[in-house]
């Protein structure tokens, strides 16, 4: 069991866990449309599978928000 912080909130997760699995676990609606930071660094989308989550990681999902609004 590991404790990580996702969007500012603690989550208990079982390792090993890839970023892709974490995205699925957090029910991100449109995984292709989210920008992800792990410990303050943006992760390139095609590296999500290869990015292993470690105990204490801070993960942020940033979403597109486009309205202005016409």
């Amino acid at each position: 069991m590991a404790t990580i912080i996702v969007n500012g909130e603690k989550q208990e997760v079982n390792l090993p866990l890839s970023l892709t699995e974490l995205i699925i676990r957090n029910q991100v609606e449109q995984p292709d449309m989210v920008s992800v930071q792990v410990n303050g660094d943006f992760i390139v989308r095609d590296k999500y599978d290869d990015t292993a989550i470690s105990d204490g990681d801070e993960v942020d999902f940033l979403y597109f928000m486009g309205g202005g609004c016409c």
């Binding site: 928000m65 309205g67 202005g68």
Partner: protein
């Protein structure tokens, strides 16, 4: 700059602020701010900046006022339906504060006019509603060395950050616009009217902080809120070395035509 007695009275609540004072109010009065889009976000931004006494306000919007705008675009009134938004905005700005010089551009912000329009302004506010234009504003400001406030709203949520030359830009976090229709805009998914006010007033406050050099701007930080829970959250994000426009190997060196149609719903 010597303020007239009526201006001292008008701006007295700013002048009373230790961080602003007469000097800060002078900076506001000398400030030139361009607001792109006179819609949900642009409306509160323009109203507050006019009230604050920003010396020159530029407003660019190619649209006319539609009845469906009035639920949130509080600078436009019922009799304004059918009128160019920039004209409707100019009238209200002048009614609030006749000292403000207003430049109107009844056109859309495009790669062809972008640099020419932003060059005359100290600070730019993004009040637009589509991703391609948001990316265009980012690119024009980054390449043109202009500070700007990014803003986006959807349903019950809002998101904003401030860019100064050298700090993280929109593309540092989001490399490129999402594919058309992958992410809904307000015109497709709706928005609670007051959300526009919540986010627009944050953008107006950032503008006034920038003009007066007050406090700590939302640079390298993305502020998001959800009005359903009233949770506000600030995520730190930094300049991305892989950013296609401000990173170590930039591939975007000029402005390109937006890839996505404007305001999809209108065309259906």
């Amino acid at each position: 700059m010597d303020f007239r007695p009526d201006q001292i009275e008008r701006y007295s609540r700013h002048i009373l602020l230790q961080d602003i004072g007469v000097e800060g109010q002078e900076k506001i009065s000398n400030g030139k701010v361009l607001v792109i889009g006179a819609g949900g976000l642009g409306a509160p931004v323009l109203l507050y900046l006019a009230a604050a006494g920003v010396g020159t306000l530029g407003v660019i919007d190619g649209d006319v006022v539609d009845l469906s705008n009035l639920q949130r675009q509080i600078i436009h009134f019922t009799p304004d339906v059918g009128k160019p938004k920039v004209e409707s905005a100019r009238e209200k700005i002048t009614l609030i504060n006749p000292d403000v010089k207003v430049n109107t551009y009844h056109e859309f912000f495009t790669p062809d006019n972008a640099f020419d329009i932003i060059k005359d302004y100290d600070f730019i506010v993004d009040g637009t509603d589509t991703f391609p234009v948001k990316f265009l504003i980012n690119d024009a400001c980054v390449l043109g060395g202009k500070p700007f406030s990014h803003g986006g709203i959807l349903r019950f949520e809002g998101q904003t950050f401030t860019h100064l030359p050298g700090t993280a830009c929109y593309r540092c976090a989001f490399h490129a616009p999402p594919p058309p229709n992958a992410v809904p805009t307000c015109s497709q998914a709706g928005v609670l009217g007051a959300i526009a006010g919540m986010l627009g007033t944050i953008q107006a406050a950032e503008t006034l902080k920038f003009l007066t050099g007050t406090g700590k701007l939302l640079t390298n930080r993305l502020l998001s809120f959800n009005a359903k829970t009233m949770n506000f959250r600030t995520v730190n994000f930094k300049k991305n070395p892989r950013c296609p426009i401000c990173g170590e190997h930039p591939v975007i060196t000029e402005l390109h035509e937006a890839e996505q149609a404007v305001c999809e719903l209108k065309q259906k």
